[in-house]
């Protein structure tokens, strides 16, 4: 769909939901989100003589992508329910499945202020955040994760996400979810990945502590504002992997070498032990070393699976997005990370 038609349809969609005459003033496809299609939208809402300017973000299901098959509704239901929560998730008022509107399902979020630092080193090799940013942002990110895990998912009605039973079920469910994705990609299994999967199958840890799990909580999904020079966490984005499970899955994912951006820090923010310690102190939960190690390995397996899914979409000619193609030469980096996580690469 051409941008002008997309703009007209979005203007109509928003006009039917906002009180006032809506005029869309800006529409741009964002480059940050690698999975869903993300559009930033500005509208003017006229009421009498006054004009209110509003910003939204539209997330649309892609034709092909890294987390196919897609279903946007679960993440919408979580985001919608959390719209009034103190956690800085974007208020998310609307979901639309009708293909007559934008051809594919989408939901609309209010646009929060801030920028999204990405997990890549600067040209000089230093991390993406300076020490002053890390000093405020690191603890804030750990505290927000603790707050996310404290959400009463039963009271919020998130049982539809599927609650693991106490014991090993949380770990087994997650491994199964990613093994299923891997099988769907139908890509050959590299020995580094095969080795990790064998170990994960043999060593699922046990926990009775089941929480809401963001699933993609890491640098690159944090919205950051700078108020008088002080970096502040203004939003937690990209909830498409949200589920119920072991909270240490989020801790391991956020601290994974995948997101350290050339630094020794979890998400380029805090030393991994400091991050886990801060999360533990704020949440009142313990960091079990065996569970954390399991999810360290699973984190890299998840990322490798996501990349293989993207490579498959590109190889099949189902996407023109070359961000899927670059994964092909990045996979060796993941194999090395698997070696480090599993201990065969010192």
């Amino acid at each position: 769909m051409a941008d002008d038609r997309l703009a007209a349809r979005l203007e109509g969609f928003l006009g039917a939901r906002l009180d006032g005459a809506v005029h869309l003033t800006h529409l741009e496809r964002s480059t940050e989100g690698f999975s869903q299609e993300t559009f930033t939208v500005d509208v003017d809402v006229r009421r009498g003589d006054t004009i209110e300017r509003r910003g939204y973000v539209v997330k649309r299901e892609p034709v092909a992508g890294l987390l196919e098959p897609y279903d946007l509704e679960p993440e919408f239901r979580v985001l919608h329910a959390l719209s009034d929560d103190a956690l800085p998730s974007p208020p998310t008022p609307w979901f639309e499945r009708d293909p007559a509107v934008l051809e594919r399902p989408f939901y609309v979020m209010e646009r929060l202020p801030g920028d999204v630092p990405i997990p890549a080193a600067r040209p000089d090799g230093s991390g993406p955040l300076d020490d002053a940013d890390r000093a405020t942002l690191g603890p804030a990110v750990a505290d927000a994760l603790a707050r996310l895990h404290a959400i009463d998912w039963r009271a919020r009605g998130f049982g539809f996400l599927g609650a693991p039973a106490p014991g090993r079920d949380a770990a087994i469910r997650e491994l199964t979810r990613w093994e299923d994705r891997l099988a769907r990609s139908a890509m050959p299994l590299h020995p580094a990945l095969a080795e990790a999967l064998l170990w994960l199958r043999r060593n699922p840890p046990s926990t009775d502590d089941i929480t809401l799990v963001h699933g993609d909580y890491r640098l690159g999904n944090f919205l950051v504002t700078r108020d008088g020079g002080t970096a502040q966490l203004s939003g937690i984005l990209d909830w498409e992997m949200v589920h119920l499970g072991d909270p240490l899955e989020d801790v391991a994912w956020c601290a994974s070498p995948l997101w350290r951006a050339g630094t020794p820090y979890a998400s380029a923010l805090l030393a991994p032990e400091e991050f886990a310690g801060r999360w533990a102190a704020t949440s009142g939960r313990a960091v079990d070393a065996d569970r954390l190690r399991y999810y360290d390995v699973l984190a890299v397996v998840k990322m490798a699976t996501i990349m293989l899914t993207g490579i498959r979409a590109f190889r099949d000619g189902r996407t023109t997005d070359l961000r899927m193609a670059i994964f092909d030469h990045q996979l060796p980096y993941l194999h090395a990370l698997l070696g480090m996580a599993r201990g065969w690469l010192g």
């Binding site: 299994l189 095969a194 293989l308 030469h329 690469l345």
Partner: protein, 155 residues
């Protein structure tokens, strides 16, 4: 690489024509873009992956598999050793890319075979395979160019 060179070039051309060209604003830049497409289309059937990289991987994998088979045999796991030997025998002698790909599969199978052994019996075979995977990781990383992730993400 999991995407064949021809498929990669076809994908590049498609993206340039469908997703990039419509947003290119000057005639000169459009002309240059068409030249890139023309070159890529003509490279398509003239290039292939470097055989030397595949040969190095294959040699390393074969050594590891031989050692793993011997380790299994030494531990009395004759059936496991035979499965590894069968997997190696099934690997084609050429072309180099197909040989390296098949050996990658054989290494994965060997890991699965060894996984069924008691830890002490499995350890020497695992060590041989780990040495190969480590060396291969370094070979793969040595040809990896600095990432443009920032530019790709921010546009």
């Amino acid at each position: 690489m999991l995407v064949p060179v021809e498929t990669a070039i076809d994908g590049l051309v498609r993206t340039l024509l469908e997703a990039v060209l419509p947003d290119v604003g000057t005639r000169f830049a459009r002309g240059q873009l068409y030249a890139v497409v023309d070159i890529l289309r003509n490279l398509r059937d003239r290039v292939e992956p470097k055989a030397a990289l595949a040969d190095a991987e294959a040699e390393s994998a074969l050594t590891a598999l031989d050692q793993a088979e011997a380790a299994c045999r030494g531990a009395g796991a004759v059936g496991e050793a035979a499965r590894i030997a069968d997997a190696v025998r099934a690997v084609p002698a050429a072309p180099p890319i197909d040989r390296a790909t098949a050996l990658r599969g054989a290494v994965s199978l060997a890991l699965e075979v060894v996984d069924g052994l008691p830890p002490d019996a499995a350890a020497p075979a695992r060590a041989a395979i780990a040495a190969h995977l480590t060396a291969q990781a370094f070979r793969d990383l040595a040809v990896l160019k600095p990432s443009l992730l920032t530019e790709i993400s921010k546009g």
